[in-house]
Amino acid sequence: MNAALMRLERHERGIHVVRRVNLVAPGRNREAVGEELIAAMAGGEHSAVCHTFSERNVMNVEIGDVTRRFGRTQAVAGVTLETGPGVFGLLGPNGAGKTTLLRMMATVIPPSSGRLRLLGRDPGGYGPRREIRRRLGYLPQNLGYYPGFTVAEFVEYFALLKEMPPGRVPQAVATAIERVDLSGRARTKLRTLSGGMLRRVGIAQAIVNEPELLLLDEPTAGLDPEQRVAFRALLRDLGERATVIVSTHLVEDVGAACSEVALMDAGKMVFMGTPDELTARGEGTGAAGDAPLERGYSAVLATARSNTAAA
């Protein structure tokens, strides 16, 4: 066992990324992968997230061969995923099954088959499901809002629905609103806010209970560039302590904020690894895309689709 592998073993309990990388790239040399990862962790651009690997002794999300059907449509077809604290990006084209996977993780809908454990609990049981929900933050893709509510009321409303201790609610609401930079709008009614601001209100309600598992479906949709930059910083901060799963179309968000990334297509997971690995998959392929990560994204999708067609 060489030095790299030994260092890898030392982190084995927490570095599930390696296991996933091996899953999607079974032909690759494990030692080489370990070297790459450790190098990236040592001071790469994702160090803000990656330095928390030492805390990764818990699998907050454990998904085994999960499927979900809606009538004849199979939205999720046998997805397996494990992740602990950190920011996890979930990429994929429209209809790939990202939202359905997130809804299952949010305990909104149960899987049709497969194994799903969240925060060490099986959401199939009512008691565990409540406990999961108590520690869960969720931002749906199409977030509605109550137009007559103010920003503070909306966030307070969900804090109360999450059964936060009443004494903590006012401070938690103020903190959440501050984190999305809406303190000056706390008393503004939602009907008067822009789409981007409403998105930030949605993020505030998701983080008001300091969730251990935060599921964000298209969180940056409607945000202006400045807000997206700030949001990525917030994501990294949240990822210090919680498992944050971000579903998005915007690969640059993933590159900037996520330590790990998965790519879904047609209900299946076609890639799991780091953003750098995704970038690497696009190198020299001539895949479409303006940025390296986009080219990696396109290349993986193209490969997956050609494999499917061949099969």
Binding site: R133, P140, G148, F149, T175, A230
Partner: protein
């Protein structure tokens, strides 16, 4: 966004079981603050004013009559119910319409509990508004000097009805999260009220008495005017209706908890039990009301009846004198005492000193005979020495009159009282009387200042008077009456003293008149 601004210490969210009530109270406060119901209240207030209050002012200032339209026939419920159902449906469909169902479902609190908080806020606004509107109306009635006791039990029925409308509307919205849920629920509420009115008009007993718009047996009949004056408002029927409406509300709310996303299996089982309990409660109320019997004080339901409610209300009568005879009325009728004494003075003077003449006149509670024994007798004689019993509640009192062509004139009221007195005095009872009784009646009226020519019209226009009278003022009855009236008062008095017993026993003919 300020990622670094807050470096909160990682805390595991504690279970907050003990804080659940406080948490729920805060949730309710948020819902109350941002509920849609207050936006609808100005419209309901306007409707309440025009439909419930204004028409009631055209009736006598007695609670039984003043509230007949708005409480007895349920117009306050009509004004509230459809709108409350619509708003509740709007609130019930809110999460679905706004795309928040997923988000609410993914929270710790069961979705049913969150929905109940939304419903409770809507219902609280509606019930509070109902109580305020009715309270203001009653306060205004009190300011106007409306006499008697307000029908509080019927207010409770209204509260239960508003609650039921809100629960049913909410359930519709929860199961059909569409923008059309609200108008459909409102229209459905209106349709239910309309059908309830129609059923109430045609079904005077049995199960239909459960309908909150059915005034039969509660406000109509014996208890229409004198409930809350001579006897307390009987709570039997209101209690049955409250149980019925509460059952509907409970069942509707239970239904919202049956949805797959409402909560855990235990919660959904509890919701199923709540639904069944609500249906059972409503069904029991219908069964109970089917056993209802009408009494002089109102509707009696054996399973709910408390005999203590049959005890009359004690009162100190208001008294005056007419031709030396004491005339006493319930203090609620005090304002009509001068009219009553003025009406009775000439006829009492005419019969004064006769062996069957009344020694006093007292008001008694209005009472309709049962079993088709003819119309009730607003004025009758009873006991020894003879007492004139006045059921003033059966007469349209002077002033505004609900259901009449116009206000009742004092002269008309006095003339009707004289007619009813004369009719009772000759012993005609609830029938038209024999020709000789009709003739004496006509002569007495003539002596009291009512010309023969006016008497047929008076007979036709007097409420609760036998329809067929002596006919046109030119017939043989009036010819005999003219003979009796033409003579001196002393001669008439002497004839009556000698023949009154025979006259009342219907043993005389027209030829026996002088």
């Amino acid at each position: 966004m300020t990622a670094a601004a807050v470096t909160s210490v990682r805390r595991r969210t504690p279970r907050a079981t003990s804080a659940v009530p406080l948490n729920a109270a805060r949730l309710l406060r948020v819902e109350l603050r941002r509920n849609t119901m207050p936006l609808m209240l100005p419209l309901i207030a306007a409707l309440f004013w025009f439909d419930s209050y204004r028409p009631s002012t055209g009736t006598s200032p007695l609670y039984g009559l003043r509230t007949y339209w708005n409480m007895g026939q349920g117009h306050t419920i009509l004004d509230f119910g459809p709108f409350v159902a619509g708003v509740a449906a709007w609130m019930g469909s809110r999460d679905g319409r706004r795309g928040l169902a997923d988000l609410v479902t993914a929270t710790t609190r069961p979705r049913w509990a969150a929905q109940l908080a939304t419903w409770a806020a809507t219902a609280l606004w509606a019930v509070a508004a109902y109580l305020v509107f009715v309270g203001v109306m009653f306060a205004w009635y009190a300011h106007q000097g409306v006499a008697g006791t307000p029908p509080w039990w019927w207010v409770a029925v209204g509260v239960a009805a508003v609650t039921a409308f809100s629960a049913v509307g909410f359930a519709i919205g929860a199961y059909w999260p569409s923008r059309f849920a609200a108008p459909v629920a409102a229209f459905g509420g209106f349709l239910v009220m309309f059908l309830s009115f129609q059923t109430g008009f045609s079904h005077r007993s049995g199960w239909a008495l459960i309908l909150p718009t059915n005034s039969n047996g509660s406000f109509d009949g014996s208890a229409q005017t004198d409930a809350g004056i001579f006897y307390p408002w009987l709570p039997d029927l209101p209690i049955a209706r409250i149980l019925f409406l509460a059952g509907i509300a409970v069942a509707a709310l239970g239904l919202t908890g049956l949805a797959a996303r409402a909560g855990g299996p235990w919660l959904r089982r509890a919701a199923a039990l709540v639904t069944l309990a609500g249906v059972a409660l409503a069904g029991s109320a219908v069964r109970m009301v089917s056993t209802a019997q009408e009494s002089a004080q109102g509707v009696v339901i054996p399973a709910l009846h408390d005999a203590a409610n049959d005890a009359p209300i004690t009162y100190a009568p208001a008294c005056g004198r007419a031709a030396g005879v004491p005339v006493c009325v319930n203090p609620a009728y005090r304002r009509y005492l001068p009219d009553v004494t003025a009406a009775l003075t000439p006829v009492l003077a005419e019969v004064s000193g006769l062996p069957g003449a009344p020694t006093r006149a007292s008001q008694v509670a209005a009472s309709y005979p049962s079993g088709g024994d003819g119309p009730p007798q607003p004025i009758s004689f009873g006991s020894h020495p003879p007492v004139l019993r006045l059921q003033l509640g059966l007469l349209n009192t002077p002033g505004p009159c609900g259901g009449c062509a116009g206000p009742v004139a004092t002269t008309s009221y006095e003339a009707q009282m004289r007619l009813l007195f004369a009719h009772a005095f000759v012993g005609a009872g609830s029938g038209t009387g024999s020709p000789v009784q009709q003739a004496v009646q006509a002569a007495l009226l003539r002596a009291a200042g009512i010309p023969f020519a006016a008497q047929p019209g008076l007979i036709a226009g007097t409420e609760n008077f036998p329809e067929s009278g002596p006919g046109a003022a030119t017939g043989p009855v009036y010819a005999a009456a003219q003979r009796l009236a033409a003579g001196p008062a002393a001669a008439r008095h002497d004839w009556l003293a000698a023949h009154l017993a025979a006259l009342r026993a219907d043993r005389l003919t027209l030829q026996d008149l002088p």
